[in-house]
Symmetry: none
Subunit: 138 residues, 2 copies
DNA sequence: GTAAAATGTTCCAAAGGGGAACAAAAGGGG
DNA sequence: CCCCTTTTGTTCCCCTTTGGAACATTTTAC
């Protein structure tokens, strides 16, 4: 359950802002001891407080609670955000993003690839392509 | 405050799924009357319940609560919001996305990889990893 | 080492969530 | 239009749990 995550994150974001518990409590207009309890999982904020936290920290509720999963609407958010940047968005990219995120080792390898000299990159890509073709036929 | 928004949204998403209050209550393993109260702002779910709701409805907490914030540089904010120390959505991913978008052929190959049986995927990933290592040493 | 700041703990009252039972609407057939 | 079923709303009450104040402990700075 992500209730402990909330506790951790409250402290994390508070530290990130270099706020004392008292300062955070003031912003939320609550007692300081409550902040302590939140951060130690002795208590859990109600929803109104959680929303206030998300606002003073300027992070999403999902980030604050650690409630991320690959929900469609998150991907849609990304799609919306990213495609608004320059070009129309490619649905396949979203799938690949997810795939890469699920396979961190593979991700690292691609990351290494990206750092190789261009010519090597193209060679690797070519070999990779052959590899895939072979495995498709197996 | 978006507490009324939550009430509205719970009913909205429940209707969208064509669930009765009872059905929703069953999924959350709580009493039905509580759902009624949530939807009428007679009560507000605690955070654990809110997270469950976000999961059964498959929407983000921010969607569920109407806690939208509109930011200027969307991509930048998106990166900031979804990146954290465990980095489910880190800078590298965005870099890789761009890389893959720039190399459509490569993209297609990864796309093919993704569609292979799991075991083949892992084999390919392993070989790919070796390949990269080799090229790094050249 | 000491004083101040920051954080943690304990106690208690109050608030409010949750469940059960009852009440009221809403939807169909006949 | 009425009856029966389904769905939704309300009331009452228990009881968990929050939140605050005061006290305790730890950390920091000098």
């Amino acid at each position: 359950m992500s209730l402990e995550q909330i506790a951790y994150n409250i402290k994390f974001f508070r530290d990130q802002h270099n706020w004392t518990q008292q300062e955070l409590a003031d912003k939320l207009m609550i007692s300081r001891s409550v902040v302590t309890k939140w951060e130690n999982s002795t208590a859990t904020p109600d929803i109104a407080s959680l929303i206030k936290l998300s606002n003073v920290f300027d992070v999403s509720l999902d980030h604050l609670t650690g409630n991320y999963s690959f929900r469609n609407d998150l991907l849609k958010d990304f799609k919306r955000i990213y495609s608004s940047k320059d070009k129309p968005f490619d649905d396949e990219i979203v799938e690949l993003m997810e795939y890469i995120m699920i396979h961190p080792m593979f991700k690292e390898q691609i990351y290494k690839l990206k750092k190789l000299p261009i010519k090597k990159q193209l060679s690797v890509q070519q070999l990779f392509s052959n590899l895939i073709d072979q495995y498709e036929k197996l």
